[in-house]
Amino acid sequence: MTDHHDFDKNYLENGKGFKSWFFSVDHKRLGVMYLWAIGVFFVLAAIASFLIRFEHLSPGQTIVSAQTYNVLFTLHGAVMVFLFIVPGVAASFGNFLIPLMIGARDVIFPKLNLYSFWVYCAGSIILLGSLLAPVDTGWTFYTPYSIDTGTNVIMVTFGVFVLGFSSILTGINFIVTMHKLRAPGLTWDRLPLFCWAAYATSLLQVLATPVVGITLLLLIGERYFGLGFFDPAKGGDPVLFQHFFWFYSHPAVYIMILPAMGIISEVLPVFSRKPIFGYKAIAYSSLAIALISFLVWGHHMFTSGQSKLINIIFSVITFAVAVPTAIKVFNWLWTMYKGSIELSTAMLYSLAFIFLFTIGGLTGLFLGALAADVHLHDTYFVVAHMHYVMIGGTVFGLFSAIHFWYPKMWGKMFDEFKAKIAFVLIFIGFNVVFFPQFILGTQGMPRRYFNYSPEFAFLHQLSTYGTWILGVGFILMLYVLCRPTGPASANPYNSLSLEWQMPSPPPTLNFKEIPTVNDSTYAYGTKIEQEA
């Protein structure tokens, strides 16, 4: 393990070459490695999605066969969910930021942190190894098809099983770190809201992930040994698989979105120059989301043959989860009210997050309503809804973080003007791709279908053209980020948060002396800021 303690060197300069990174226990290096890894997987899954949309440029076969199409949407879903968005913001920015924000020199178990990354790499290799006989089940691996198909279900589900360990270990590390390593004076009611969000995320990772791990082991047992958990012919129940799968996968939606919500809570006050409005409400709503998210999984199964009684119960609780989410949105809006708003690139992505995530969240309520869901279930409406939450929410939050902490992470500035052009392209492209899909869904276009009726052609083509705009936006963003304009100062945005009170990039051990925290992190526009 490389574990040099040279305070004068920043973490980027402290060792060069593959080994100095791959064996490093420095939380910042691990955060950066996660960021690179999820970036590579994002590009891979995005290429699959561009091919899917290209296929839909015309009814019938356009560029690939029906079987290849099935493989492409499975690859897109599995890679996006398990390799990109679940580890996503939590593993990358969580690792990079949490110790800096709480005034610690590292996470509490640095070697376990490195081990988590290695397990993530191993799980990724196994999952991608399934490409030798690509899976065509979709990322949900629903039985009975996942038992019957001749494709490599065992390998891909085992990959997900292994990836789960990485998620659990990272979650444990973050929880204990925040309990044990907070700087003197950094009480729970002064903890940065990103840390609160990461804490709630970690609880979900630790508590929900084992369930999907066991479920996938049962599926492997069913395929390999012919056990009868989910096969009705052997006394099993295929709907039981969906219960177990969604018991994890619905909380997993919040594993994906909660850290992004934490980012928004950090970015908005800085560029509004106002204290965050409703600190405690935002902090506790993260915990409330984590708790309620365990109670709503059955809303994915309203049309799966679930009993009417349990459908009604799940529908009612689903509406409850909208409450803590709305609390966050209203508090963010009030934070900006009468603020001195600076439309930096990071702020633009955060504003887009609020707009797009609200659309994604509200359309989720359509799907939580029993009667509407019967019509909309498994249509493009669901595809649009989840992408407004996952891209409009999580990915825009991630992009906001990438731009906001870019000076801190790399010690350099980027071209704001070009980055804003990339933002405009991405924002427009995203909406052109996915808004037509809401309309397609209400008109009855089923999701995951290779073919479609000619009356759907215009909206499908519009959606495909949108991916081209989106693609250009992504490439421009990448270009801007790869061409820094000059060195960054320690605190270019005048943030009050601890991570900005040190050089950019941060020294290897973060703090020469552990700081004492006396005030709120969000005292913008107050006497505390003027004195700081």
Binding site: L207, D237, F244, F294, G298, Q306, I310
Partner: protein, 93 residues
Amino acid sequence: MAGSNPYKTYLNIFILLMFLTFVTVAVAQFDFGALNVPIALLVASIKAGVVALHFMHLKYEDSMTWVFALYPIFLMFLLIGFSATDIFTRVTN
């Protein structure tokens, strides 16, 4: 660890676990009908509880650790409860 000789406690727990293992095997010889699974789960739960309390030191931990230990059990009942509610209230034609 509070008070008494931990090795004596560990030995007693080990003997109790061995005894309960024999109980598990013994009750499996009889058919209790619908009670087969609840009885097996009861014995297994007692064993798991004893291991958590003593070998995993839960008995000597603070209230926060108890919250972290008990909440997953609540979630387990939730998973089983809601899934069972679905299965037992389904209308099949």
